[in-house]
Amino acid sequence: MMRIECPWCGGRDETEFHYGGEAHIARPEDPDALSDEAWADYLFMRANPRGVHAERWMHAQGCRQWFNVLRHTASHEVVAVYPMGAPRPDHPETAA
């Protein structure tokens, strides 16, 4: 089981958290202006990397706050935790 560092409550077991999928997918400002391809990309296409992944977690059984996590999808190592709205931090393995 993974341990995840909640920015407000500290390190807790994975079972206290809810996973929210890929981070930084902004809803398009003007969906009507989008092509079908761009809309499909927003709705369905995902990075799904084997490596460091920016993703959202929510501390469902604690403070119930959402936050972002950089986590390696093969080792499951959490390499950074940062607030919603903040840009993705630099990380050697994330330069892509």
Partner: protein, 416 residues
């Protein structure tokens, strides 16, 4: 290919079974092929087999980064059924089930298909209504389906508890009698042997690291054993599909997750059907060796780690205790995980791509074992003719742009 028969068995008995030929060769990769298939799992091997057998395309290599059948094909719980809700799904899965029914003979290799019946349990009024709807839809599509009430469930599977004194009592079940289980390794080995005999090169320990294109057309693959040229490249990498697609500059709608399974110590025969429950979420069958084979849902997060959390297994076991209190004393032997490629509509992609000569088969997620034959069969058609068969045309990549999704989440009780 040396055919297996009672005569060959007797002949080899005389020499102490030391002279059986290898199932397939291990050739060095040639500089180029007509078709390079990336991924030596069940679907990749089936694709190679049907390319050679149905379309006469034999200048084919299957390149596999690990060993043949070390991925999901050898990690799954082998449940086979075709009772999906929507017409498109019913058609492709039923085609698969029909191929399964003739597969041991077709491949001259015993895939140990056992059609012992698959029950999908209903635990709520809503479950009951959806299940009966699915039975009706299945029948209209020529897929065998029956509705059993709770007493009928107990009669079909005496080990199960239908006690009303639990949080989610069993109210009934759909039954597909032609559903069942098969031997996962045998399917892969049978297809590999059949493909090899028709001239397909199976190249193991050869990882694809790049996909070469010239002006929007594939020209081959970079691998850990050098460049291999190809007129056509077919990606069938299950959990690693996004990684390969990215090499060709494509984004996919799939996400990779761990899916775990486990087996108990071997027991005397106690369960001669497959039982699946979405509501309390576990599915179970008993293997020929006597092990109870269990599984359920994915771990929630994206992963390529081929392992998951213990709490996910605990949830499945809690569900099992409600359905089969008698199994509480059984000891677990081992658990493992595979990486499954999950699509937003829980349906697969068997498709051409925007890159000429590049084809992709993925998104089977937690339920592609049952489709191994039809996945390979339709994908081979798509590659050979450069256009989909009518069975897989609805499962194109562009359905995510057109909006014509085939939403099998829950609708088909689609755990597996």
């Amino acid at each position: 290919m040396a055919r297996y028969s009672i005569l060959s068995l007797a002949r080899n008995a005389l020499t102490g079974h030391r002279d059986w030929p290898e199932l397939w060769r291990s050739p060095e990769p040639k500089p180029a092929y007509d078709v390079v298939i990336v991924g030596g799992g069940g679907h990749g091997l089936a694709t190679a087999y049907y390319l050679a057998k149905e379309h006469g395309v034999t200048d084919v290599a299957v390149v596999e980064k690990g060993w043949l059948a070390g991925g999901n094909i050898a990690r799954n719980t082998t449940i086979i059924r075709s009772n999906y809700l929507w017409d498109e799904s019913a058609a492709i899965y039923e085609h698969g089930l029909k191929l399964w029914e003739g597969l041991s003979r077709e491949l001259n290799f015993n895939v140990m298909l056992r059609q012992r019946g698959v029950m999908n349990l209903a635990h709520t009024e809503h479950d009951v209504r959806e299940s009966i709807r699915r039975v009706n839809a299945n029948r209209l599509n020529g897929v065998d389906a029956e509705w059993l009430d709770a007493e009928g469930v107990k009669a079909f599977c005496p080990t199960i508890s239908i006690s009303p004194d639990v949080r989610y009592p069993v109210l009934g079940a759909t039954l597909q009698r032609r559903g069942g289980v098969a031997r996962h390794d045998a399917v892969a080995w049978g297809y590999a042997r059949g493909a090899d005999a028709r001239g397909v090169d199976i190249v193991q320990h050869c990882e694809v690291t790049g996909i070469r294109q010239v002006r929007g057309r594939v020209t081959g693959v970079e691998t850990s054993r050098g460049f291999i040229g190809a007129r056509k490249v077919a990606l069938v990498a299950a959990g690693h599909s996004s990684v390969l697609a990215e090499m060709a500059g494509l984004r996919l709608p799939v996400e990779s997750h761990p899916l775990q399974a486990m087996v108990s110590e071997p027991l005397k025969p106690v369960l001669d059907c497959v039982v699946m429950s979405n509501a309390v979420h576990v599915y179970i069958s008993q293997s020929d060796k006597g092990e109870l084979v269990l599984g359920a849902g994915i771990d929630s997060f994206n992963s390529y780690g081929q392992r998951g959390g213990l709490h996910v297994l605990e949830d499945q076991l809690a569900a099992l205790m409600q359905l089969f209190p008698a199994f509480s004393r059984a000891r677990l032997l081992r658990s493992w995980g595979g990486i499954v490629d999950v699509c937003p509509d829980a349906s697969p992609i068997v498709s051409k791509t925007p890159v000429e000569g590049l084809y992709i088969n993925c998104g089977w997620g937690t339920g592609g074992f049952k489709a191994t034959p039809s996945s390979g069969w339709t994908f081979a058609h798509t590659i050979a003719r450069d256009e989909p068969h009518k069975l897989n045309a609805p499962f194109a990549l562009d359905r995510f742009t057109s909006g014509a999704l085939i939403d099998e989440h829950g609708a088909a009780a689609v755990a597996h």
